[in-house]
């Protein structure tokens, strides 16, 4: 989970931790998330905001998909135009803000339960 807004980041981490009953990692910038993924550490699904310092969501998406094409990458944004950009950049899913708890459960259903 990558977002520089601690309110949204902590809420999503709580909800996902509860859903999957496993550790969910969080990062406050694209660069810190990339440093972790670059080392080859486990991250099956990445949920990432767009506007962040150091490295934005689209830059992280490009790096992750180039190095690990099989990883699921979900772009999250409250800017409508970013949906088309996410699709063009190869994101697996788009999470439009504002979203609900049910949307997070649906993501777990789709990418963890159904695989």
């Amino acid at each position: 989970m990558v977002d520089d807004d601690p309110g949204i980041r902590d809420l999503i981490v709580n909800a996902l931790t509860y859903c999957v009953n496993r550790q969910v990692l969080s990062f406050e910038s694209g660069l810190s998330a990339w440093r972790y993924i670059e080392e080859g550490k486990a991250a099956d699904v990445v949920i990432c905001d767009v506007d962040m310092p150091d490295m934005n969501g689209f830059e992280l998406l490009a790096k992750v998909k180039q190095a690990h094409p099989g990883k699921t990458f979900i772009i999250m944004s409250g800017v409508a135009d970013n949906e088309k950009k996410a699709e063009a950049a190869g994101a697996d899913a788009f999470l439009g803000k504002p979203f609900s708890i049910n949307d997070l459960f649906n993501i777990v259903q789709c990418y963890v339960v159904d695989g």
Binding site: G7, I8, D10, L11, V13, N14, A15, T17, Y18, C19, V20, N21, R22, Q23, I74, M76, S77, G78, V79, A80, E83, A86, E87, A91, D92, A93, F94, L95, G96, K97, P98, F99, S100, I101, N102, D103, F105, N106, I107, V108, Q109, C110, V112, V113
Partner: protein
């Protein structure tokens, strides 16, 4: 892009695998999330956590920790919250006290494994239903069976 795939004879299943999935608000409703929305999501999550416990879904260590984190976050937000969404007949003070009570109940029965007898179960249900009526009167609080069973 869909027309391209159809025009070139790709199957529907192949196309659907490649198409980006979509969750959350629609294109027209896109905007930043405010404090009230975040509060309501935390409250919704707390209600799901309590309902799932009452239904007997498993609670592992990470789930217990998530309950503690979520309730701590609700407690932090609650005093400063201007709950404009409440109807005119609902006291903001009483509503906040009910949320605090539900948080304590959740910590006790989920994170700390205190026993849940008939009367305690009724008290939890009654308090939870009151909160749901106040802020989610038309919203169905769903439990995702497969997600809750998977862990």
């Amino acid at each position: 892009m869909g027309r391209f795939f159809q025009a070139h004879g790709f199957s529907g299943s192949l196309f659907s695998r490649m198409q980006m999935k979509r969750f959350g608000s629609t294109h027209a409703d896109a905007k930043k999330m405010d404090e009230t929305q975040l509060f309501l999501m935390k409250l919704h999550l707390l209600i799901v956590m309590v309902k799932a416990k009452l239904k007997g879904y498993p609670t592992g260590d990470f789930r217990k920790e998530a309950v503690l984190e979520n309730t701590a976050s609700l407690f932090k937000t609650l005093p400063h919250l201007n709950i404009g969404i409440l109807g005119p007949n609902i006291s903001s003070h009483l509503f906040k006290e009910r949320v605090k009570l539900l948080s304590v109940m959740a910590i006790a029965i989920i994170s700390k494994d205190y026993p849940l007898g008939i009367h305690r179960r009724e008290a939890v249900l009654d308090n939870m239903e009151n909160i749901i009526k106040s802020v989610f009167p038309r919203q169905k609080i769903s439990l995702f069976h497969e997600v809750l069973m998977a862990a």
